[in-house]
């Protein structure tokens, strides 16, 4: 019995080996790709050890002494760090609360459009801001929202209102930040829902129409349930990145007057790591951020599965 087992294994090994030799060129083609991942993805992951070391540029990573969790203790004791965490969560949650429903509503509106040319043109226009860099968006936003001479304040003044400090008041700055994000990404976000909406079974609508369901009823009882899996997936994805925030928008839109609300984890890491060369501290912050993200991702996936939806993992 054991002998035949061994024989089978040997035979399997032989065929696998043969297969590998047959695919030689495929492996050779993969070498540059794998090399990229080793050097620019895995080497930095290995570099995370400096979060647990007292990193000294002159000694290098390996010769620097270990310091355990001392760096983390130092960070957690810092008020600015918790301020950045709070701002990251606030901006992300508010952005999600505003962008998420608007994206779905605009998708549903576009889906109702039957005039193909109109639909194509409006879609092209809605996707456009996604392709504009944050530098340009921030530049445009500054031009529009500046307190003195900004176009929007000019219009407000002309209508007899006082100027609004869109960029220099904490609350208004958050408002402007959300507006910029909505303007840039909501149109692009509709693609995924529109794709899902084209997959909804037409016959359901026809049946409901014949049964006398109104447009609104069809929306509530057919359309929304049909795209629910996509909604849930997108929600999990957004929630699982609650601790990450793009660096561009807060860095470019922010200024010293609103740093109490615009200082987020990514900008804090940038200031600490690149501008002040505190490598261990900013690496530790990055690790903390990734860890929280993975925990939220797993939790959100579990909850979705418990609710009877497909998870994403």
């Amino acid at each position: 019995m054991k002998q035949t087992d061994d024989k089978n294994k040997a035979a399997l090994r032989r065929t696998t080996w043969k297969q590998i030799r047959k695919c030689k060129w495929l492996y050779i083609m993969m070498i540059p790709v794998l090399a990229y991942f080793v050097v620019f993805r895995y080497a930095p992951i290995g570099g995370i050890v400096i979060a647990f070391k007292n990193y000294n540029v002159f000694k290098g990573i390996w010769a620097s002494p270990w310091c355990g969790f001392a760096t983390f203790q130092k960070i957690f004791a810092n008020k600015n760090f918790w301020n950045a965490v709070r701002n990251t969560l606030t901006l992300n949650l508010l952005n999600l609360a505003v962008s998420f429903p608007i994206t779905i509503i605009i998708s549903l509106m576009l889906n109702e459009v039957l005039h193909l040319r109109f639909k194509k043109v409006t879609q092209s226009i809605l996707y456009l801001p996604h392709f504009i860099s944050w530098v340009v968006v921030a530049g445009i936003a500054t031009n529009l929202f500046t307190q003195q001479g900004g176009t929007i304040n000019n219009i407000l003044n002309a209508m007899g209102h006082d100027s609004v400090p869109f960029l220099s008041d904490n609350g208004w700055w958050i408002f402007t930040y959300i507006i910029c994000n909505v303007w840039k990404e909501v149109g692009w976000g509709t693609i995924i829902y529109l794709a899902a909406l084209t997959g909804v079974d037409e016959t359901l609508y026809e049946a409901a129409y014949l049964d006398g369901a109104t447009k609104f009823q069809r929306l509530i009882y057919i359309t929304l349930p049909s795209i629910k899996p996509v909604i849930v997936t997108m929600l999990i994805l957004s929630i699982s990145s609650m601790m990450s925030i793009g660096l561009d928008a807060p860095l470019l839109l922010g200024n010293s007057k609103v740093q109490d609300v615009s200082n987020v984890i990514s900008t804090y890491t940038y200031q600490l790591g690149i501008q002040q060369a505190q490598y261990s501290e900013s690496t530790a912050i990055g690790l903390f951020q990734s860890a929280i993200n993975i925990i939220i991702l797993l939790a959100a996936d579990r909850i979705a599965k418990a609710m009877g939806e497909h998870g994403i993992i």
Partner: protein, 298 residues
């Protein structure tokens, strides 16, 4: 049956108050999307006094091209434009090659070690080294202050790889089998069959990569120190937000420290954005398909 069809047609043709409101709202949203662009263009073509007295809203006032003359007369803008074009072209070519090869190889059935290699790549979507370790690696391999630092560290996007692999997996398999029987090598199959069939997805992914390279300023901000190597976006950021980010106590509204007029700034914005707007309509018809391919769970 006929009646049903008639009713369906009727439903489609009927103009209800709801659909009128819907069309109006969508038009309004599209206008809101466009307005900021219009505003920028209006500023860039407006005369000095009109800009200073804040009269510009929708259309240029005292039409002039002097801002463009001044911008395009600066050698630094052309230098940056050249740098950005080089980085975008070389980066996109490299990214597309690596992504296509990876997607092709890892879509082959019966390739031993396929799963391990895929997992090896996918893992980096969830776990990353973060800003500083990556910065130290880029410095460590000698790329600091070189143009290669702008594309090598971000050469392959795992997300784009997944999208492309999903697409290639959906291609009809018989063609490849026939080619194999005819004695075609793996390389020939990739070049003669897979790539021609995958052109829509290659165009889509190419657009994504190109836009990322064109728009990136952060990598240039942290890796490039020689001003001659500044990319367009980095230069634009320095022009628009000069002194804002690094010096404490900078004036949020930029009054007083403002060296350039608003129309000059906005002309620079236009110059650095127009190239994207030029390729956009050509590639637009592809990318919806591309994003959809990616939304299918692989």
């Amino acid at each position: 049956m006929a009646k049903q069809k008639e009713e369906k047609l009727h439903k489609i043709r009927k103009v209800t108050p709801g659909s009128v409101i819907n069309y109006t709202l969508i038009t309004l949203i599209a206008l809101i999307c466009l307005y900021p662009f219009l505003n920028v263009v209006a500023y860039s073509f407006s005369g000095y006094n009109a800009v200073l007295s804040n009269k510009v809203t929708f259309f240029p006032i005292d039409f002039t091209v002097s801002a463009y003359k001044e911008i395009l007369g600066k050698a630094s803008i052309w230098l940056s434009m050249r740098t950005t074009i080089i980085v975008t072209l070389v980066g996109t070519a490299l990214s597309l090659t690596l992504t296509t090869v990876a997607a092709y190889v890892l879509s082959r059935p019966n390739l031993p070690g396929k799963r391990i290699m895929s997992t090896f790549m996918l893992f980096t979507m969830y776990v990353t080294g973060g800003m500083i370790p990556t910065f130290l690696v880029v410095k460590g391999v000698g790329l600091y202050d070189s143009l290669a630092s702008l594309f090598l560290p971000v050469a392959v996007s795992v997300y784009n790889f997944i999208v492309m692999r999903t697409f290639i997996m959906g291609l009809p398999f018989d063609l490849e089998e026939a080619a194999k029987i005819d004695g075609a090598s793996e390389m020939q199959i990739l070049i003669k069959i897979i790539i021609p069939l995958s052109l829509p997805i290659i165009a889509t992914i190419g657009l994504f990569y190109a836009v990322n390279y064109w728009n990136d300023y952060f990598n240039a901000l942290i890796y490039i120190i020689t001003p001659e190597k500044f990319t367009l976006q980095l230069r634009l950021r320095n022009l628009l937000f000069a002194g804002e980010l690094n010096s404490a106590g900078a004036n949020a509204e930029g009054i007083g420290t403002q060296v350039m007029t608003q129309s000059l700034k906005m002309a620079t914005v236009v110059v650095s954005t127009v190239p994207i707007l030029l390729v956009y309509p050509w590639l637009q018809k592809y990318f919806v398909k591309g994003v959809m391919a990616g939304s299918v769970k692989g």
